[in-house]
């Protein structure tokens, strides 16, 4: 997980807590009822990607910092 960056876009997060339900070791509620990353290494990449898919807002971005590749969301889903 060295080169993987996970982030939550607070301009999109609606505080559904779905990411927290699916990966409680990675995500946590912040003071505004939105999501924040508590431990990027709390789950393996496959789990993080499948949790990112659960977000109704596509607010969770998963990137490879070395190659710059965006692993999620695919461009056609981003709004």
């Amino acid at each position: 997980m060295e080169n993987i960056k996970v982030s939550v876009d607070l301009n999109k997060c609606v505080g559904s807590q779905l990411c927290i339900m699916f990966s409680p070791t990675v995500f946590e509620r912040d003071g505004n009822g939105q999501s924040k990353i508590v431990n990027r290494n709390g789950a393996n990449l496959a789990e993080i990607l499948s949790t990112a898919e659960q977000c109704p807002q596509c607010a969770i971005k998963v990137e490879n910092t070395q190659t710059g590749e965006v692993l999620f969301p695919p461009p056609e889903l981003a709004f």
């Binding site: 301009n11 999109k12 609606v14 505080g15 559904s16 807590q17 779905l18 339900m21 699916f22 505004n32 009822g33 939105q34 898919e53 659960q54 977000c55 109704p56 596509c58 969301p73 695919p74 889903l77 709004f79």
Partner: protein, 410 residues
Amino acid sequence: METISLNDDLMAPNVISDPHGYYRTLREAEPIHWNARWGGWVLTGYNEVVEVLRDSLNFSSDRMGFLAQELTQEEQESIAPIFKILSYWMVFRDPPEHTALRMLLNKHFTPIAIERYRPMVRKIVQKTLDKVLAKGKIDFVKDFAYEVPMTVILELIGAPDLDTEKIKEWSEKLGVFFFIKADEPRRREIACEGINALVDYITPLIEQKRERPGIDLISLLLSAEEAGSITANDVLATCVLLVFGGHETTMNLIANGTMAFINHPDQWDKFQQKPELLKKAVEELLRYDGSVKSTVRWAKEDTQVGNTLIKKGDRLLVSLSGANRDPHQFTDPNGLDIERNPNLHVAFAHGIHVCLGASLARMEVEEAFAGLISRIQCPELVEGAQLEYYPSVVHRAIKELPVYIKPLIK
């Protein structure tokens, strides 16, 4: 000086025809207002609305539980069929019961999962456009907006052949229960008729799927029941909820969105020139005149919201439309701007109950407008048309939208 009096009649004709004007008056005076007539708080400020919606620990969605406390035993029995189903609707449940159902269903409603229905929706849209173009003068609600959402939800539950007219009629009857419609003395009986008919219609379908499972949502719910993670009541109630919640709101959004463009032809022109704005345009239609105006919560504990102390047991009408036009959150909130970004509206609510069907509704509305702008000119209201909205506190629903449809000359 003009004095502003805060009218507490949420069903007053001017509130139904122009909810945005009414919520604006409230927000400017008191973003958290005690409505003595309804006996609860009305929230119209963005921050207040978002705070409550994201706080399911202090604010409950257990509508049937709180209703039971208000009703006599006799009254409760008179609406037993409603209790029997609606008590199991995830939208009216709190964690932990809500969590299991939501996690189960969410996987099938993610933005990615929904993409597989897009080609089907695109086809329905094209077919419907052929029909309305041939007619020229149409009721946009019945002839266009209605077609897509109903077909799609039946496809999703694996029952494409159900009678859509009947489902629509029964859903409307059940809807009377939510209308806070004090002037309809038979509202509870009508709603019971609606739910009984829906249950009688859907039950055999569930039994059929139990014997011959498919890849549809009913079969999925049934396998979760077999695994013991949900109950038979959950299965039936969820099917009714999907059929009930899955079409009207989306239909209304397509109609409200079209009405917004009729009033802002410059935005329609821009949209036609820049179709790549599709996703942003749909978000703006949701914000500008979303189809669900409000939802309700109940305080589980004394809780401070903004400057106001909400007492345990108090109910709150959370105005999504009010929040969506709050100038503290949105610049020029009463203008339609299909390029608005960011646009963190609350049209699907926020928090754990955020609309399960949001990605589905977005995709359907995207396809509807992608089809419209590629083939027709901005619809024109038929001269003398009187627009009327259903008298509901919850739904923003035009009864009829008579328009002329003309092909786009390229």
